[in-house]
């Protein structure tokens, strides 16, 4: 069943359709939340809050064909609100090995998986160090693969602004990651 139909069924109060919708989008919402906060427990709570909001507002989704964008917009608002209220961002801890392994998705060679997992972990750490605006645009563009026009719609900012912000964000992230790699290499040497 396609998303349009699922959403329409949810709007008509079909609980089974809602369950399918939750299961279909749980990884996406959780992934976005984790990208924003970098903590599994917090991401879980935020993802749940997002679904609650979606459930309450699903009748206001007037364009079911653009449900994913609508969903991402709500997730983003939930995460940004949370980060605004979080007084001090806790230090980013190294993820437990099991968690690191979870971050990979290839399911092929364990060594390759581990390498990819480490890269992902590094990116997640880098995201936490990014300026909030830059992180926002990186998550939507690079992680979620949204088009500039869609990001513009979600963030309610002109496309040109998104493009220039994206450039700055990429540069900042690349420099942060370079620094993290340098720190990591120094740690290995010492």
């Amino acid at each position: 069943m396609n998303v349009d139909e699922l959403v329409q069924r949810c709007q008509n109060g079909d609980q089974l359709a809602w369950e399918v919708l939750v299961r279909r989008y749980q990884s996406k919402i959780y992934g976005i939340a984790y990208s924003y906060v970098g903590d599994r427990d917090e991401a879980r709570d935020l993802a749940q809050d997002t679904f609650i909001k979606v459930y309450r507002r699903i009748k206001s989704c007037r364009e079911p064909e653009h449900f994913t964008t609508w969903l991402i917009r709500i997730t983003r608002h939930v995460c940004i609100d949370y980060l605004r209220h979080r007084k001090a961002r806790p230090a980013i801890h190294d993820l437990p090995v099991d968690d690191v392994y979870d971050l990979s998705s290839t399911g092929s060679d364990p060594e390759t998986d581990l390498e990819i997992s480490k890269k992902k972990e590094l990116v997640y750490k880098g995201l936490q160090k990014l300026n909030a605006l830059n992180r926002d645009v990186i998550i939507l563009k690079e992680l979620q693969g949204m088009k500039i026009s869609e990001i513009s719609d979600v963030m309610n900012v002109p496309s040109g602004t998104i493009k220039s912000r994206l450039n700055r964000a990429r540069i900042e992230l690349a420099r942060i990651l370079t620094g993290l790699i340098g720190e990591s290499n120094q740690g290995m040497v010492s």
Binding site: Y30, I52, R56, E142, I171
Partner: protein, 340 residues
């Protein structure tokens, strides 16, 4: 003349200096400035020697000059590099960018990192939560729905699900029978034993439930009125349930109507059995349809038959609970819970 102005003065005349076109005064001024300015001193030293400059020294010099003038072009070069990921950039800009990147080690490092790590982000759109996540969300939304909607609406929702279930007709007959039995309570044995008072009760309940299962529009009124008249002493809850069931049934009338005929048939047999003093036979008829309430029905009426004088409505519910526990069907528990 300030040091900065002197540096600017020198750079403006660098080409003339290299071509040995400086005047004596200009040389004197430059030498005097070079004693104070390290960068210009180094520049003067290098340019004064007619030696081939090592490449690394040349790069350092270039960096030195760039730092002192417009600042290094790293931001601009990286910005162009990022732009070209999504959009094409003019050839001239590309040339400038490549020219910078060829010599700037820090930018090369940043770009290497980027090329290595950015592709990974394409696989980071999703992250699998723990296996209980979806269940927790669904439970929370169900609670939310439960709390935000009124009791009647909740029961109507339940009814809609109930009416859509494959064994609707049997379940309907069962629910009718259960309501009938629980509300009559300890009267059942006396109905059978004494024909005076309970006759009216049986007749009213028969009318109410039969009306409920046949003409849908009349169902609620009949059930509400009759049940209210006869059994409001049981707490009045059944009235609310009946109203809820009606509103639910109305919404699904087309779907439910043909199936109710079947339910009515089953229920009619049970009512006939009650009137003949063979209630248990009536319930066994339901059980014989293959529905998994078979054990439940038998246990319930065995319980009532064994202890006919002490079965109050509340106790009936407990008895029914125990009977429901003997079955495996989840719907049975739900039905009982709703009814109780």
């Amino acid at each position: 003349m300030t040091s900065e102005i002197r540096c600017t003065w020198l750079r403006d005349r660098m080409e003339r200096f290299v071509e040995h076109a400086f005047s004596q005064d200009e040389y004197a001024f430059l030498e005097e400035h070079a004693t104070h300015c390290t960068d210009c001193g180094k520049l003067l030293e290098i340019l004064s020697d007619d030696v081939v400059m090592p490449e690394s020294e040349g790069e350092r010099l270039t960096e030195c000059i760039l730092d002192q003038t417009a600042g290094r072009g790293c931001d601009r070069a990286l910005s162009l590099y990022m732009y070209q990921i999504d959009d094409d950039i003019p050839d001239r800009d590309r040339e400038l960018m490549n020219s910078h990147l060829r010599y700037c080690s820090s930018c090369q490092e940043v770009i290497t990192t980027m090329n290595e790590l950015f592709p990974v982000m394409q696989n980071m759109a999703e992250l699998q939560p723990d296996p209980w996540f979806a269940t927790d969300v669904i439970r929370r939304t169900r609670q939310l729905r439960w709390h935000e909607r009124g009791l009647v609406a909740r029961i109507s929702d339940w009814w809609e699900r109930f009416a859509a279930s494959p064994q609707f007709e049997i379940q309907t007959a069962y629910v009718g029978a259960l309501i009938f039995s629980l509300t009559i309570g300890s009267s059942i044995p006396s109905i059978i034993a004494d024909n005076s008072i309970p006759e009216r009760l049986v007749e009213n309940s028969r009318t109410a439930v039969t009306a409920a299962l046949s003409p849908l529009e009349e169902w609620s009124d009949a059930v509400v009125m009759k049940v209210e008249e006869e059994w409001n002493r049981s707490g009045g809850r059944i009235v609310g349930y009946a109203e809820s069931l009606l509103s639910g049934i109305r919404r699904r009338m087309d779907y439910v109507a043909p199936r109710l005929d079947s339910a009515e048939n089953h229920f009619g047999k049970m009512i006939d059995a009650v009137e003949d003093g063979e209630l248990l036979d009536g319930m066994v008829h339901l059980a014989e349809t293959g529905y998994d309430l078979k054990n439940a029905v038998i246990v319930l009426f065995t319980h009532i038959e064994e202890d006919p004088c002490h079965v109050e409505p509340g106790e009936n519910i407990q008895g029914a609970e125990s009977l429901i526990n003997t079955t495996n069907g989840k719907n049975n528990s739900t039905i009982l819970w709703r009814v109780s």
